[in-house]
């Protein structure tokens, strides 16, 4: 073997025959990936473009500036949807976080039947939102569900009619959403609790910390990164929630439980206002970015720190 210092002419490109021989492999790598990437980029741009056109029943070219956006944002439909999103998003995320954390801590106590219990808390995630919504619409229906049962049992003054109460209906969605997806928070928190270094817990015990203090001061602080991940994922779900609401309240009573995703669908496919529908979709994306961009920045900083340490 010889290496010489003199630079010999380098062939910059593999021979053409090599490219032909490797064509099948290039095709399998590139075609699906390019198709996926291209449809994501072009479809997003397409929707953004439509949102600036006067399209109604069919997409047309033309430029209306921000008129679709101002029209959507001025509509009562969107205002209610946005307020609902704020309420639903914060209540659902906070409560499912708390529920998930409590479940994880309970399961972390080395209890018997942990696997069965974990399966029970997680099974709603395997069920479609349509099924969840339908089932909860029955349970919460005052004439059919829990209220009816309690009445039949003799307590006739009992009231649990949130489903038909304009002010409270949004909470039925919160309840169903928590039932469906707090198991997700539990799974992540439990994994986090289990990954805490056992030596740290021993050290805390030797330092004289009781169980509650150990959790509060030593274990829970390590769960911060997981908490942020859970919040972001749940917010992402809340912002694009559609199936669940469609099946549970369908936006009603009236438009009391309207949410952005329903507004988009309504504008696009029921009122044939493609331009406004697209504008509402872009608004949804913007709301999502408000959540995701800080998260991405945070992740980036975390990763930088990890690689520098």
């Amino acid at each position: 073997m010889t290496g010489t210092g003199a630079a010999a002419p380098r062939t910059g490109w593999p021979a053409i025959s090599g490219v032909v021989r490797r064509l099948p492999e290039y095709m399998t790598i590139w075609v699906p990936l390019l198709l996926s990437a291209a449809h994501l980029v072009s479809f997003s741009l397409w929707t953004i473009w439509i949102s600036f056109t006067p399209s109604t029943l069919v997409p047309v070219s033309g430029w209306v500036g921000l008129r679709n956006y101002t029209a959507v944002m001025a509509s009562r439909n969107w205002k209610i949807a946005f307020d609902n999103l704020l309420l639903f998003g914060s209540a659902f995320v906070l409560l499912s976080l708390v529920t998930g954390l409590i479940l994880a801590i309970l399961l972390d106590q080395r209890i018997r039947g942990e696997n069965v219990l974990r399966s029970i808390f997680l099974y709603p995630l395997a069920v479609s939102f349509v099924v969840t919504g339908t089932v909860w619409s029955w349970l919460l229906n005052p004439g059919l569900g829990i209220q009816k049962l309690v009445h039949d049992l003799g307590w006739t003054s009992f009231r649990f009619d949130w489903l038909v109460d304009r002010d409270m209906a949004i909470w039925t969605i919160v309840i169903a959403a928590i039932w469906q997806s707090s198991g997700f928070a539990m799974a992540l928190f439990l994994a986090g609790l289990r990954s805490v270094d056992a030596d740290i817990i021993k050290a805390a015990q030797i330092d004289g910390a009781g169980p509650i203090r150990t959790y509060w001061r030593v274990i829970l602080p390590t769960l911060w990164p997981i908490t942020i991940t859970v919040v972001v994922v749940q917010l992402q779900f809340a912002i694009s929630a559609f199936d669940l609401v469609r099946a549970l309240t369908n936006g009603g009573p009236g438009i009391a439980t309207q949410l952005p995703a329903l507004v988009v669908y309504d504008l696009m496919f029921q009122r044939s206002q493609l331009g406004r529908g697209a504008a509402a979709a872009v608004l949804m994306l913007l709301i999502l970015l408000v959540v995701l961009l800080p998260y991405a920045a945070w992740r980036y900083v975390q990763r930088r720190r990890a690689t520098h340490a």
Partner: protein, 363 residues
């Protein structure tokens, strides 16, 4: 030949010529570029400039599989889903070697490495040493022009490492293969190599047989890298006295040490100037030792002992020569007391002198 990654030049002007049948060891601290060099030879990396020749053929644009090489990896890189048999024959399968021939090659390699009972097992069912053997078997079965070893022993425990070291050396002697072997362990380099290339900062510092590398390190880096404990190096001054060179450690101090040198003609131009003196720990011994072959009486110096480290076979002593800390290797029969003066014999024939500016060996 050189290699750049973005703006980082990891290999500079490497020029190695390896004879057929040689066992060449590339040794250096981690990050010195030795693995990159090996990957370039294997064809897994491309050089930024320069050529790689194997068996007189320029292989820069030839795929790894066509270079007539075999490689043993640090992690062994055994295919986890295949049995030992399949691991060894996979390369032949890729090259469409007839089944009968595959079986023959497999059988002879398995016999050579004594892994016949393991052929039906999966890698996960093997011990570290057995995996190592299978990885070697996979390389041997190719019967290539060139074997490449990438730190193959670093994942083994100390005892097994010594055994495998001897086994690889025996294998080399038996089949006379050409081997390029990368390691950061200088003992592996010393024990196995016919020639060692010491690498640092992407450059070959010295390329020579083990004795030369050990006895005449080309520069201070090689002197300090090879040997355990490493060579003692300290500032000194070279003066002429009675017509011959004398090296002075701690000049001007009350405890200065003056050592007369013989046969250091190459150092003549440094008379009257500062040098770096290098002396191996085994060249400093207890005062009663007579270094064989030394003309005249050995030089014996009383020096203060700072610390004593018995290792069983020998005792390492930290002492001061002209104020400079120095390690000595003495017989375990003697235990000088820390803090006291003790007599030490010095083998001045094996002193190395280095240029303090260029750090190169003078004599």
């Amino acid at each position: 030949m050189s290699k750049r990654y973005a703006n980082l030049e990891v290999l500079k002007g490497i020029n190695l010529d390896i004879e057929s049948g040689e066992f060449t060891v590339l040794v250096g601290p981690s990050g010195c570029g030795k693995s990159t060099l090996l990957n370039i030879v294997a064809g897994l990396d491309r050089p930024s400039a320069g050529t790689v020749e194997i068996g007189g053929r320029v292989v820069n644009d030839i795929a790894p599989k066509d270079r007539d090489i075999a490689m043993v990896f640090q992690s062994y890189a055994l295919y986890p889903s295949m049995t030992v048999r399949q691991n060894i024959t996979f390369g032949m399968e890729c090259r469409h070697v007839p089944k009968a021939e595959q079986e023959k090659a497999l059988a002879s390699v398995a016999r050579l490495l004594q892994i016949e009972p393991l052929l039906g097992r999966k890698p996960s069912q093997l011990s570290g040493g057995q995996r190592q053997r299978v990885a070697m078997g996979r390389a041997l079965v190719r019967d290539p022009l060139l074997f490449l070893f990438d730190e193959p022993l670093s994942n083994l425990d100390a005892k097994l490492r010594v055994e495998m070291r001897m086994e690889i050396k025996r294998l080399h002697q038996r089949i006379g293969a050409t081997i390029v072997y990368v390691t950061h362990d200088q003992i592996e380099a010393m024990t196995m190599a016919t020639r060692i290339a010491v690498m640092h900062h992407g450059e070959v510092q010295q390329f020579a047989d083990p004795d030369t590398v050990y006895r005449y390190p080309a520069n201070l880096f090689v002197a300090r890298f090879m040997g355990s404990p490493p060579m003692n190096t300290m500032p000194a001054r070279l003066v002429a006295e009675d017509g011959g060179p004398v090296v002075v450690i701690g000049a001007g101090r009350p405890d200065e040490v003056r050592l007369r040198l013989q046969g250091y003609d190459a150092a003549a131009s440094f008379v009257g100037r500062d040098v770096v003196l290098g002396i191996r720990p085994e060249c400093i011994a207890e005062g009663s030792r007579g270094f064989s072959g030394a003309s005249g009486a050995p030089i014996v110096i009383n020096a203060p002992v700072e610390m004593v480290e018995p290792t069983g076979a020998e005792t390492i002593v930290l002492l001061r020569l002209g104020g400079e800390p120095v390690l000595a290797r003495i017989t375990p029969d003697i235990r000088p007391a820390p803090g006291a003066l003790a007599p030490f014999a010095l083998d001045t024939r094996r002193i190395c002198l280095f240029d303090p500016v260029t750090e190169r060996l003078i004599a």
